[in-house]
């Protein structure tokens, strides 16, 4: 019953032993130009990169810069499985990913994608890992042990017999990583593995990734690694780690190379040794040791709309030392004080009249209440953030408040209807043939007299005027997000509900979305948004509602909720570093966090970009 290859060692080992590049680079690209999709859009333009075996490369850049496409090219998915044209030289684990079939390439190159649910193919956790080994012709006698080892290494050994659909996002993503690593690939490609996770889940995966990328001579040997300052923290994190990666550390094969596309850098904790920065057109801005690239290009990265690790941000802004040191505390307090009070903290939150009032409110799905015992006011002029663990009922609560799912109890929409809502996946909401028709949909149904004028104005404000005649399904993900927000705001709704309106967006676009929501609230609207981004909550929200297991366990001013350690732990909220500093120290020094964020951004942007380092 066993197939011919069983017991002879799997194909992975043989393939890896043969064609590795002579210079030790496990991944190499020269003048890589990639066009994707049926529209043949160019997304990567002249990319050069090299990732030696045993090192890790971080790829950062704004939304739509071709980061994901790069990951897919390295795994052979573009152009083999998805349409695209790949020109130039590219070599991964000694093979050309355009020629070797994806499944065969997979013996050496493992790919982990963004959405945790979409990459688990089978119903049970251990089946998923066995599947990965069996496909590569692994010796059946060793499979159980290897599965157990890989699950344990990913910290999910206890989940071995669980159903994959019942896992939390963080658990599922760690299982996906275990399934990618179980066959011991020479190259690991990760495409934003933390993008869709709640803060605690992102930390779990981040910690695991830090372990994978930790031994990295490239970063550690950086000749101009600074002796002090914030960038040193990055270098130190890289070379301070010991080699405990037993799977690869002990055998004679060259070590694994890792390519990590990610923008939640603070969640990662430890960064890969080298970094590649791409711009909006898919061109290389910088490629080199992480500390140097991030330090020298901080202002450029900020302008591109990328997230920067807090350490780099502080150093670029001119902080005297790392976060938590006395001088830096004083410097931050001074910076916030000097920047003044222009963040416009809303007072409407405490005084505004309720635009929407829910009492003993419950939302049912298939007859059973998923969210219950809700007493909640949404006030005109406020932004309310709804936070809590994945699967806790946040989206269901919003759908109930929007009058979509069946509900019980009292729900009063004060003032003018309708309640508008932006869903998590913009493609679910599309129903017209063109962008213009899409935005015109609600005004037409409402019988608004000035439809055309209103639509034109809204498209302009959303920066979508040039796409008015385009098919909404053909827009990029970021454009679709802007479209659904434009459609939701075209009637100036009294209440806007938004389900994770910023997830997967780069920092510039996330902040632009935040400004749009703030503008709506300042104009007298009531806004509620579901989000996992606590930095965004601190920056945008007046009040926070915490939803755990289908109940609203707390509603209070943002600062009170974010500072409540017990509440944060119960709701799996993990504060990002600057917010944590503000709770522990900054608050006591009278710092307004919103002002401080703005001041830091202004300082970073004001810094002149160093001349580009292209290697």
């Amino acid at each position: 019953m066993r197939e011919a290859r069983a017991g002879h060692g799997e194909r992975a080992v043989r393939a890896a032993g043969t064609g590795r590049a002579g210079d030790g680079a496990a991944v190499r690209a020269r003048d890589l130009v990639v066009h994707v999709g049926h529209e043949d859009r160019r997304v990567l333009d002249g990319v050069d990169l090299a990732v030696p075996a045993g090192t890790a490369l971080l790829v950062v850049g704004p939304s739509g810069c071709g980061k994901s496409t790069l990951a897919r090219v390295l795994a052979g998915v573009v152009p083999q499985t998805l349409p695209g044209r790949v020109a130039g030289h590219v070599e991964v684990a000694g093979a050309d990913p355009r020629d070797v079939p994806v499944a065969r390439l997979a013996a050496d190159v493992a790919l982990v994608q963004q959405c945790p649910g979409d990459q688990l193919c089978l119903g049970r956790v251990d089946d998923e890992l066995r599947f990965a080994l069996e496909n590569r012709g692994a010796d059946p006698a060793t499979v159980d042990a290897r599965v157990a080892t890989a699950l344990a290494a990913a910290g999910v050994g206890h989940l071995h017999d669980r159903a994959t659909h019942a896992l939390s996002g963080g658990e599922a993503q760690r299982v996906a990583l275990a399934a990618a690593l179980v066959a011991d690939p020479a190259v690991l490609v990760l495409d934003e593995p933390t993008a869709l996770l709640d803060p605690a889940g992102a930390r779990e995966v981040g910690a695991l990734l830090a372990g994978l990328t930790r031994h990295d001579p490239d970063g550690a040997d950086d000749p101009d690694a600074p002796g002090g300052g914030q960038a040193a923290e990055v270098a130190e994190r890289v070379d301070g780690a010991d080699d405990t990666d037993g799977a690869r550390g002990t055998d004679s094969r060259p070590r694994r190379a890792v390519v990590l596309v990610e923008h939640r850098l603070d969640e990662l904790g430890r960064l890969p040794g080298a970094t590649l920065v791409l711009d909006h057109d898919g061109r290389v801005v910088a490629h080199g040791p992480t500390p140097r690239v991030l330090r020298e290009h901080a202002a450029r990265l900020a302008r591109l709309g990328c997230w920067l690790p807090l350490g780099v941000r502080l150093e670029a802004a001119g902080a005297p030392g790392p976060l938590g040191s006395g001088p830096t505390d004083a410097w931050l307090a001074g910076l916030a004080a000097a920047h003044g009070r222009d963040a416009g903290t809303s007072t409407a939150a405490t005084t505004g009249t309720p635009a929407l009032r829910a009492r003993s409110f419950a939302v049912k799905r298939a007859g059973t209440p998923v969210v219950r015992d809700v007493d909640l006011d949404l006030r005109a002029g406020e932004v309310l953030a709804v936070v809590g663990p994945n699967g806790g009922g946040k989206s269901t609560l919003l759908r109930g408040l929007a009058g979509l799912d069946p509900t019980t109890g009292h729900l009063d929409v004060v003032g003018r209807a309708p309640v508008a809502m932006v869903f998590q996946d913009p493609e679910h909401q599309l129903l017209a043939r063109t962008v213009r028709e899409e935005v015109a949909w609600s005004p037409r149904l409402a019988g608004t007299p000035d439809v055309d004028e209103r639509v034109a104005r809204t498209l302009d404000a959303a920066g979508l005027a040039h796409l008015a005649g385009a098919n909404p399904f053909r827009l990029s993900g970021g454009e679709q997000r802007r479209l659904s927000l434009a459609t939701a705001t075209v009637l100036d709704p009294a209440v806007l509900l938004a389900d994770e309106p910023t997830f997967g967006l780069d920092r510039a676009r996330a902040l632009a979305t935040a400004r749009e929501l703030r503008r709506l609230a300042d104009g007298g609207g009531a806004v509620a948004l579901v989000t996992h981004d606590l930095a965004l909550v601190a920056r945008l929200a007046d009040r926070v509602a915490v939803v755990v297991d289908g109940r609203v366990v707390a509603v209070a001013a943002s600062s009170a909720v974010l500072a409540d350690d017990a509440l944060c732990a119960a709701a799996r909220l993990v504060r990002p570093p600057l917010l944590d500093w503000w709770v522990r120290t900054g608050r006591g020094l009278g710092v307004d966090l919103r002002v401080l964020e703005d001041a830091l951004d202004a300082r970073v942007l004001a810094r002149d970009a160093a001349p580009a380092v292209r290697r």
Binding site: M1, R11, Q113, G123, R130, F131, E134, L404, M421, E427
Partner: protein, 257 residues
């Protein structure tokens, strides 16, 4: 695992197919009734499926069975007139209708046996091992199964997401107009295509289809599995022989009478 769960899924599937085909040749009501009774007994006794689950599982088949009975009673007027309550119906129609209805229930219980006592991964592994189906095919079926399980939830989300654009909507209800359902169906299709694209990438990047594969948890196929099939078919043959001797067994020729 219950005996029915332990039974090799490929052999079980083949046996169920043989029985389902054989019962097509029978047009009397008694034979499928005996088959149905035996199948229910096996499902409860050897499959250890709660009787309540078996009864509830009958619902869709009962609907089909009832309509078959009614259609035949109404359209076949031959034979003696039989009084059913206040109605007078033809005996032929009643016999054929009852036979078709009971046949439906029998095949229904056989399907329940497959669904309730077979682990999908075991079935696919066994089909790959013993029926020589390509692994790419069997795992594609498993992935499609996962996709199908999620479709109802996605359908609901899409309908909510589109309904919210109507400022005059009635709270708690979703639009049912053909236009609204059409738009939702299109968005669902797009979502399903995107999802299956990502699943395909995931399966390829797990190395599916890279060449000969091994099986770490082979599904055993031994003499007991075959013996069980032989026993089941022998019982079925026994029921047929009994019917022929007792005189109630009729074949397809009864239909054209």
């Amino acid at each position: 695992m219950s005996p029915l769960e332990r039974w090799n899924p490929t052999v079980k599937l083949a046996t169920v197919l043989v029985l389902s085909t054989a019962v097509l040749l029978v047009t009397d009501p008694v034979t499928p009734a005996i088959g149905h009774g035996l199948a229910v007994a096996a499902l409860v006794g050897l499959g250890r499926v709660p009787l309540r689950t078996v009864v509830l599982g009958h619902a869709p088949f009962l609907a089909v069975a009832a309509s078959l009975l009614v259609v035949n009673v109404v359209t076949r007027t031959g034979g003696e007139t039989v009084a059913v309550g206040p109605l007078a119906v033809g005996a032929d129609g009643l016999a054929v209708g009852a036979s078709l209805a009971l046949r439906t229930l029998f095949v229904g219980v056989l399907s329940l046996t497959l669904v309730l006592t077979t682990d999908p991964v075991r079935l696919m592994t066994s089909l790959h091992e013993h029926a020589r189906l390509p692994a790419t095919w069997t795992f594609a079926v498993l992935a499609a199964h996962r996709l199908l399980e999620e479709l109802p939830a996605t359908w609901h989300t899409v309908r909510c997401a589109q309904a919210v654009w109507d400022p005059r909507r009635t709270p708690g209800t979703l639009p049912r107009s053909p236009r609204a359902l059409g738009a939702a169906a299109f968005a669902l299709l797009v979502a399903a295509v995107r999802r299956s694209e990502r699943l395909a990438v995931a399966m390829e990047s797990r190395g599916l289809g890279s060449g000969p594969r091994t099986v770490s948890r082979p599904v055993p196929l031994g003499p007991p599995d075959v013996l069980a099939a032989v026993a089941v078919l022998a019982v079925a043959a026994g029921v047929a022989v009994l019917g022929a001797h007792a005189g109630w067994l009729t074949g397809v020729d009864a239909l054209v009478r």
